[in-house]
């Protein structure tokens, strides 16, 4: 389902390219947003080609609209297929969300009600992606800000059934779990306890913003700040439970200097190492 190394990666930003090349190899992999590499040539492909020479790559799509009602965009699927052929990434992942409507692309990961109808649609779409790309994909749990009364299936059960029907793996975004749980005033640990962790092929960590509304806290998944302390705690609990796996630190907005991102990655690595140590003692 994924050939990413167990270890720590970061989201690749063009601005960090020189700093990455100048520093000793420290990341186990880099993740790129597929849509940023769909131009014909120039700097993006030159950088990715150089990066790919000595690093594992996770190709992360943000625009396929797997949770949308319409058919998948065949042209977009073909663009993803071409990227997979060219760069042979160790993993491909996308989101449990939708982002296109008709001919309009909305550039956000929009929510869907969880119903038997949407379950069938999402599974059909994942089947189509996996067939087109010739590989298993990872599906990421979303950050959500609303709930829908027509939802009749818990998100964890929805994901478990997708895994069962399609054979895909899951990308567990711990920040998204924390954000959604806070917004829904539910317990993130209860969500994680019910999450089908046996299918997890990668973990995401990222920062969020916090606001306050009359009805309670509003957390927004912004990827523009350090990973929050409660998210680190949940992450350590997950790692203690499932052992080491590929872990990614995302920072997409207000991108900091490279050393700041390195420090976040180092902290994630220390959590993996501590868990590895405990596992070694236990065995």
């Amino acid at each position: 389902m994924t050939h990413l190394p167990s270890g720590v990666g970061v989201g690749f930003k063009s601005a960090h390219f020189e700093a990455i090349r100048a520093s000793a190899r420290q990341m186990d992999f880099f993740e790129i947003h597929a849509e940023n590499y769909m131009g014909a040539g120039g700097v993006p492909h030159a950088q990715l080609t150089a990066l790919r020479e000595d690093h594992a790559i996770s190709l992360h799509g943000v625009g396929l609209s797997i949770g949308g009602p319409g058919p998948l965009d065949r042209d977009h699927l073909e663009r993803l297929r071409a990227l997979c052929l060219r760069y042979q990434p160790e993993s491909f992942s996308e989101h449990l969300a939708w982002s296109s409507h008709g001919t309009e692309y909305l550039n956000d990961l929009l929510p869907l009600p969880y119903t038997p109808e949407t379950l069938a649609l999402v599974c059909d779409h994942i089947d189509e992606v996996q067939e087109a790309l010739g590989r298993r994909m990872l599906l990421e749990n979303p950050s959500t800000y609303l709930m829908f009364e027509q939802s009749s299936i818990e998100e964890t059960a929805f994901l478990r059934e997708i895994v069962r029907r399609t054979g895909c793996g899951l990308l567990l975004d711990v920040n998204n779990v924390f954000v959604s749980a806070a917004n829904q005033q539910r317990d993130p640990r209860a969500y994680l306890a019910d999450f089908p962790v046996e299918a997890v092929g990668e973990i995401h960590l990222g920062g969020h913003d916090e606001d306050h509304l009359p009805g309670g806290a509003l957390l927004i998944d912004t990827h523009g700040s350090p990973v929050a302390e409660p998210v680190w705690t949940l992450f350590a609990e997950v790692i203690a439970r499932i052992g080491a796996c590929p872990v990614l630190v995302e920072w997409d907005n207000d991108v900091p200097e490279w050393p700041v991102l390195q420090a976040e990655a180092a902290r994630a690595r220390s959590v993996l190492n501590a868990a590895g140590h405990r596992h070694a003692l236990a065995s």
Partner: protein, 250 residues
């Protein structure tokens, strides 16, 4: 219960109108404010993408105005694909027709220049022509192939000067010339995008080279339109920057 197509249609419409999508619930009734997160994400992320593509326009109008401009443009000209680097081609014409900017006729041309720079940045890769391959060639038979990043533009207002004045560290005190300006945009051998001011003859020469005219024919046409035009300067510039490539195998 709405079908998924009905749900998504209402949701997408609500991003513009603020009407809540069917079935949206939230404790204590602040669903509107929570739905606004999605509305803001769509509007803000598209406006940001536009601002990265048109940084001088953003600088010229200022961040708050650009945010509003980006919201209007993104609601009336949604991207057609998830490949945002292809989005914004209609922005220069949109600016020309945007009433609040009617007093700033150079906006459209500055945006055209920024769009051309973005196209050059993402243009296909192609190995530059080795000058030795055409040394001593007969100009009346020589057809030169331009690199995919090469573009020429004509501006009715002083868009090139205004664009230059709004580069980081630029001297803003330059005189604004009257009359047309001509620009050559290309991506050089180090993958950097270059912008050069050229003459009208240069522009005509490059336009005809782009259509497959021989060097001799293109130079004649340039001289006809721009008497006294000498082609050497722009040809050397193009050759040195990697603006010519080996002809595609046919």
């Amino acid at each position: 219960m709405p079908s998924h197509p009905e749900f998504a249609g209402s949701f997408a419409e609500g991003l513009r109108t603020a009407a809540l999508p069917p079935g949206a619930v939230f404790c204590d009734g602040d669903a509107d404010l929570r739905f606004a997160v999605y509305r803001n994400n769509v509007s803000h992320s598209l406006s940001e993408a536009l601002g990265q593509r048109f940084p001088v326009i953003r600088r010229l109008v200022g961040d708050p105005f650009f945010a509003a401009l980006g919201r209007v443009y993104s609601e009336t000209h949604r991207p057609r694909t998830p490949v945002l680097l292809d989005w914004g081609d209609s922005f220069p014409d949109f600016l020309a027709g945007f009433a609040p900017l009617a007093g700033y006729p150079y906006m459209r041309d500055v945006a055209r220049l920024e769009w051309a720079r973005g196209r050059a940045y993402h243009a296909a890769d192609a190995a530059p022509l080795d000058p030795a391959a055409v040394a001593g060639a007969d100009p009346s038979r020589l057809v030169l192939t331009l690199h995919p990043s090469v573009q020429v533009l004509q501006f009715g207002a002083a868009a090139l000067t205004i664009w230059r004045q709004n580069q980081p560290g630029a001297d803003a005190a330059q005189r604004i010339p009257s009359g047309d300006q001509f620009a050559l945009v290309l991506r050089d051998r180090s993958l950097a995008v270059q912008v050069h001011e050229i003459s009208q003859g240069d522009l005509i020469l490059v336009e005809h080279l782009a259509t497959g005219a021989t060097l001799h024919a293109a130079a004649e046409l340039a001289q006809w339109a721009d008497p006294g035009h000498a082609p050497q300067t722009v040809l050397v510039l193009l050759m040195q920057a990697g603006g010519f490539i080996h002809p595609p195998e046919s």
